[in-house]
Symmetry: C2
Subunit: 256 residues, 2 copies
Amino acid sequence: MSQHRPPGAPERPVAVPALPDLPEATVARLPEYLRALHNLAENGHETVSSEWLAGAAGVNSAKLRKDLSHLGSYGTRGVGYDVALLIDQIEYVLGLTQRRSVALVGVGNLGHALAGYDGFATRGFRIAALFDADPVRVGEEINGLVVRHVDELSRVATEESIAIGVIATPAAAAQRVADRLVAGGVTSILNFAPCVLTVPDGVDVRKVDLAIELQILSFHEHRKASRTALPAVGEAALPPLPGSLAATNPQEAIGT
Amino acid sequence: MSQHRPPGAPERPVAVPALPDLPEATVARLPEYLRALHNLAENGHETVSSEWLAGAAGVNSAKLRKDLSHLGSYGTRGVGYDVALLIDQIEYVLGLTQRRSVALVGVGNLGHALAGYDGFATRGFRIAALFDADPVRVGEEINGLVVRHVDELSRVATEESIAIGVIATPAAAAQRVADRLVAGGVTSILNFAPCVLTVPDGVDVRKVDLAIELQILSFHEHRKASRTALPAVGEAALPPLPGSLAATNPQEAIGT
DNA sequence: CGCGATTTGTGCGTGTCTTCACAAGCGCTT
DNA sequence: AAGCGCTTGTGAAGACACGCACAAATCGCG
Ligand SMILES: NC(=O)c1ccc[n+]([C@@H]2O[C@H](COP(=O)([O-])OP(=O)(O)OC[C@H]3O[C@@H](n4cnc5c(N)ncnc54)[C@H](O)[C@@H]3O)[C@@H](O)[C@H]2O)c1
Ligand SMILES: NC(=O)c1ccc[n+]([C@@H]2O[C@H](COP(=O)([O-])OP(=O)(O)OC[C@H]3O[C@@H](n4cnc5c(N)ncnc54)[C@H](O)[C@@H]3O)[C@@H](O)[C@H]2O)c1
């Protein structure tokens, strides 16, 4: 996804801490550290050890130190990290020093909840526009914002310099919406619809899918159950699932 | 997280395809395959090639084949995979052959959206109970379910054999709720609150955090911007971030 | 019945991520 | 000023994941 090297940046090992090439895994953890740090700051702590911070973020302390070392941040040996400094560094690297504008598309069940969520504002984002296709919803005012028609999406996205688009429409409409976002110059999309989006190179898509999370949990449930229930015949662990047998007959009684 | 080996199952390489030890990465992709397969089935397709299915799921075809090979599923060389058979196999492995009961705790902004979401039912889950702490909300009926008081959580969870708990309360209450879920025998938790939960061994927690997703996107936005704006002096690529300096000065100019 | 077209299953090289373990650095105390 | 305890930063090894490329298997057709 981020493998392309635009010929404009010919591999110059810039010495200044412009933007280090962080491992994706590290990037995904930085926000967690950031939240823990904010909690610490609110409670008046000025320094924190890697051990403590790692605990608060739920990770191994060596991993945390390596993560932080990647962004060149210097803690002090024997003491720990300066909380305020670390917050500034992480926020800088994550690009949170400028408040990014978010467009929310699809003001239905989920969209309403998102529109009313204060977690946007408190974490460096600003909902700049709401869109929907339903004429009934267009014009509705939510949290001081008027819902606009999705036909205006591309134009408004350009005008308002929307940085991130959030898709909360049914899956059937998601690709169309994504296309419009891209047409409006949006290069980052957060997709709540259960479908795979196709976007040009250079556009990042992240997906949040409740059902997938539940199914992953279900797998572990299933495995736990089959472990503890090995001796007994209960649970669905024994049906040998002969592999070559016909596909029919999942006789385990789903209602649906 | 799943490192513990309960002494009941002493490493016996069971020959029957009880439950293969799937790599986590594979488990996370299976639900995606499953959805693509359901789409195919609805459209009347009976077989599908790895290439096609991989495209629909947005992954490499070799990866898909390896994933499927892990669960012992057999496609037919020269033909592809039997759609219906594959659906059954994946659903079996994910433990979706039995409908799992879900308890939703915190019926606020987000909780309402979740409670009204039909994606639960269509993907093998059943919302069995709703809980909240606010006396105003307790007693409210949503989608045929009456909101109960969170004090009943542990008891009801046990009685109704709740398999998965979904936490949609403010972060401050999440740990307490998690404790009650665990007390009620729940061993899988999906947490929407922005905080780290501490749970006993054997309990799985997955977290969905909107703000983290946005911040990851923000990072990539930032990096894209700094790449294209290298020649100029604009953008925040040059300020050497002296380490002790404040983080102000968001004077960046997105050119879109 | 054999052959070519097609597609699966997988061995293997490569890269990324994680974790351990420890030297180097820092500050406090004596 | 030297010693000591504590914590960071990182080398190295292992675990995991990815994707290429190809042999093996199957089908359809002549
Ligand atoms: N409700 C939830 O809790 C929940 C949870 C997880 C995922 N999701 C997913 O989020 C999406 C939205 O869910 P929901 O429950 O809010 O559905 P919803 O039907 O309540 O809302 C969808 C909204 O999108 C609008 N819409 C439809 N087509 C559009 C288009 N082309 N352009 C702009 N807007 C359009 C509709 O008018 C409607 O207002 C779905 O894909 C759903 O699967 C929902
Ligand atoms: N609203 C969103 O779109 C959104 C998006 C992402 C994450 N979240 C997170 O989801 C959580 C809920 O968000 P929300 O917007 O629905 O908040 P909300 O305040 O609207 O709802 C929270 C609900 O939890 C209930 N509650 C409080 N303490 C409780 C307890 N101890 N036991 C049971 N219930 C309790 C409250 O009565 C309220 O009904 C928050 O942690 C929030 O950060 C929300």
